[in-house]
Amino acid sequence: MTRYLKLALIAASALLAVPAQAHRAWLLPSATVLSGNDAWVTVDAAISNDLFYFEHHALQLDNLSVLGPDGKSIAPENLSKGHYRSTFDVKLAQPGTYKLMVVNQGAFASYKVDGQTKRWRGKADDLATAIPANATDVKVSEVQSRIESFVTSGKPTTETLKPTGVGLEMIPVTHPNNLVAGEKATFRLVLDGQPASGVAVEVVPGGIRYRDKLNDSKVTTDESGTFSVTWPGPGFYWMSASVRDDKSKLKDAQRRSSYAATIEVLPQ
């Protein structure tokens, strides 16, 4: 395969993006719009098929972080891991918008040793020592995943909505805690801080257990990475997207970068 063809195929796969995912990872806050001077949220975190039910795995909270309205990290409280879900609490001590996120980075490798195929998964830093020197057919992919949700006490603010510039991220154009059924909301996807164009975004309403159809909608980002959704009704929604490219910081590796957010749409 020529290098040109290889690049073309990679580009094509980036455009196809979002392969059918077996499971969905999510954060589910107890409320997203809060008032009063002693506001708290408790958050469920799980990996499941149906949204938003705990039926598969608890989400690991090792890489959980919470950004306060001033952009500084806040320690979540009462972390606990159950069989099907993890939970944590956040005290919303300052008015404004908080970003809850679980950001994972890692690497996958497959290789052959003595004719046998082996698989490895772990931290990118451990990759060099994880693969034996006599391994052949080494295939490495870097994985970045970001799972987010947003909550606001009082007036929505935007300090926490800034991207980090690493991997696939969403920059809200419409504030994510100012969403109302029947209205249109606009968001931008960025990959390493640059517009992520032509990426398919899947939007799935919660409450899957009580209906026969998934009722998901798919939108594709435009040249500036922008996409819009008109909310058919109130409730929690799960939005997700992923891309593959060859821009891994690991040598000869593919990269898969994914983003998912839980957002709440209120009734009119």
Binding site: V33, L34, S35, G36, N37, D38, A39, G154, K155, P156, N178, V180, L266, P267, Q268
Partner: protein, 170 residues
């Protein structure tokens, strides 16, 4: 002299008419429910295009210790989104305690705040009620400001609000 006096009287009779008056009557229905709490009610005026908001009244649990009654202000969803979240409650002249079932009247004069800030145009009177362990209801009564003739308009609620009446006197 007699002429002068009558002229002065005429002036007196005419000048109050420069001050229009708005009377809003809000009927909070008696509900036959297991657990009843008096509703939170927000009353405001917004320009027909939703642009300009003038708050008239917010009835909430102002007496709750440590101002904890503010926790449920967001349940008046539309009010919260449009203006509530911008305010730090309580606000003098705006907030007052929740009211019991019955008809309540509030009166505003065009020469005093908040109506003094209302420029001529088309508006809607909006009333939103939200009740703890109960429902929520929002009613709108369109009107033109200032009134050229006496106006009487009303809207009727189905669950959380009874009849809302707006009377405007030029």
């Amino acid at each position: 002299m007699r002429f002068l006096v009558s002229a002065a009287l005429t002036t007196l009779a005419v000048s109050p008419s420069l001050a229009a008056e708005a009377t809003i009557s809000i009927d909070i229905p008696q509900l036959n429910v297991a657990e009843y709490h008096k509703p939170y009610v927000a009353v405001w005026v917004e320009a027909d295009d939703g642009s300009k908001i003038t708050n008239l009244a917010v009835w909430y649990d102002v007496k709750h210790k440590d101002n904890e009654g503010t926790k449920w202000l967001k349940d008046m969803r539309q009010w919260w989104r449009r203006t509530g979240r911008e305010l730090t409650m309580p606000v003098d002249g705006l907030s007052s305690p929740t009211r019991a079932p019955g008809t309540h009247q509030i009166r505003f004069d065009s020469t005093a705040r908040p109506l003094s800030g209302l420029t001529p145009g088309k508006y809607q009177l909006v009333i939103e009620a939200a009740r703890e362990v109960g429902g929520r209801e929002l009613l709108r009564v369109p009107f033109e400001w200032p009134p050229k003739a006496p106006v009487s308009a009303e809207a009727k609620g189905e669950n959380e609000l009874g009849t809302i009446a707006l009377k405007l006197a030029p």
